[in-house]
């Protein structure tokens, strides 16, 4: 199945270097294919590729579209929304425990 979600990147966190690495690691921990785009109409890029993510230069505060295809698509999108977004995600637990 294919699911889509949109999320606004938090105002102080664009997808540069280290945050982008975290996204690719998260994506690759699921079996489904996840794509990301700045426009609902595409072009879609592979969210598991650090090179593509960096080249897309997703700046803080951008609205991004996520599209996942595969059995665990729903869980993958929930985890990504909680990693990327500003506000509380609906469904899905935050992926990283808030330690110190």
């Amino acid at each position: 199945m294919t699911l889509t979600r949109t999320v606004r990147l938090s105002a102080d966190n664009g997808l540069h270097a280290r945050p982008a690495v975290r996204v690719t690691q998260l994506v690759r921990s699921f079996c489904c294919a996840v794509e990301i785009s700045l426009d609902a109409a595409g072009p879609w890029i592979d969210a598991g590729s650090i090179v593509k993510l960096m080249a897309a230069r997703l700046l803080p505060g951008s609205l991004v579209h996520l599209r996942a295809t595969g059995t665990d698509a729903e869980a993958a999108l929930a985890a990504l929304v909680s990693l990327l977004g500003d506000g509380p995600s609906d469904g899905g637990k935050p992926s990283n425990p808030s330690g110190h």
């Binding site: 938090s10 105002a11 102080d12 966190n13 664009g14 540069h16 270097a17 280290r18 982008a20 690495v21 690719t24 592979d46 590729s49 650090i50 090179v51 593509k52 960096m54 080249a55 230069r57 700046l59 803080p60 110190h100």
Partner: protein
Amino acid sequence: MEESQAIPVATEMPVATERKGQAAAPGLALAPLEELLPTLSKGSPAQETKADPDAERSRLEQAIRAAIGGLNALVAQADSEAGEILAFQVAMLEDPNLAEPAWQAIATGSPAGSAWTLATAPLIADFEGSGDALFAARASDLCDLRDRVLTELNGTPAGPLKQQPGATVLLADDLSPSQFLSWTWHPGSAIALRRGSAASHLALLARSRGIPMVVGLGPLDAAGHQLALVDGDSGRVVLSPDPVEQARMAHAPKDPASLSAGDPYVMGPARTGDGVAINLQLNINGVEELAGLNPGCCDGIGLVRSEFLFSQGLPREDQQFQAYRRILEWANGQSVTIRTLDAGGDKPIPGLSLPEEANPFLGCRGLRFSLAHPALFELQLRALARAACEGDLRILLPMVTLPAELDAASALLDKAVADLRSEGLPARRPPLGVMVEVPAVAIKPELFSRAAFFSIGSNDLTQYVMAAARDNTSVSSLHDCAHPAVTALIEQVVKAGASLGIPVSLCGDMAGDSNHLAALLSAGLRRLSVAPTWLGATKRHLAQLSCGRS
């Protein structure tokens, strides 16, 4: 190497050359100067005969694998901060999309080196040209990984760095994270860059290792100079500093991390020779400067420059809260004075568009800037009011000019506390103090009777009283904090504080300068705040002074 290194004539000492750059990692260092000449990163030399695609492809594959291996070896030795930075490079190299254009170029006859340079060039150019400071700063990571692979291809030994046996001030156009990590940083070393950025991964590394660094020096000819001073707090770099400056440096322990171990005065009392106790606090740019220091060495933190939180873009409320809380934890019940964001045309913040001003020192900086950006300011006040539940936190407002500005900040703080409580978050209203650096405040301190405390910022006060910009070397002789006009104002503020019942401290560079300690004591000051580097030297000099006489 295009310049023939003439042997410097030993008879004549080169004249001191001073530059003002941007402070990127705090601390002071005085060490032999080593210039790092630009690496050749133009790809393989021009033996552009038709290359064998199969052979070139496997050469490049091997070089990429070797570069990944080299990075992983560095990751294994790195702390978590450095590890994450290197992991980004590893992830880039492991992504087949990176080399994709190179395979195509090789298939059409390109040698491996030019194919690799070609593949990485558009990404690098794209980042360099992106308007975003953080993405632009990543371009140097990409150049770094490009050069790693080229080095593997060309078979030259890793890094052109000539390791020196002792402390070194490394001067370069720019430095890559892996060059930084491959260098053995002897205590007392520092970095001075003609270009570079305070938002770079390199700056993060330098800060976490305690290596002072100044960036953005612009053109600087090092020929003939053998010694350099780097002040990573003020952004000042001096080549061939004069003997007076060198002597002053000699009193400063060179490695802040080894302060507690090295200098017996650090843990000793802050007391004058005639037994008057001085409240001596620390100025810091971030919690990592406190690593290895025992909180018992000081009376708390007199100045936290909260700009450190903004070096990577605008921090979230929670990030700020956690950072403040860590400092309070270290202070272990002692007071911690946090200065709100001191941004302005002379202190740019990545991610904030600052006004283009002809004269930024007289423009929208400090509290003026914060009041003009209430959303940003409220976020910081919320984080501070939350952290205030965890210890003795105080808020210091920079560049206050009018009592109405203090009142406006005070109202915003009240609102932040009320909002937090209505959201069910624990909050406490910290005392609100005024930084005395604008002459209007120093001349009429009694107008600020509602301030909880005064903290004199001697650097800015001096530049405003003397009308000599502190970043303008042509008027540096006028920038004299010991001028009677400046010390008279300091004395006046101390007296006003005493009659108003408002405590007064001084947190500028003047407090850490042994030449001025006596003047500060005779002005009546008993509360000082200095950089951790100066703590031991300040206590030593205090012990030689007495308050009884002038």
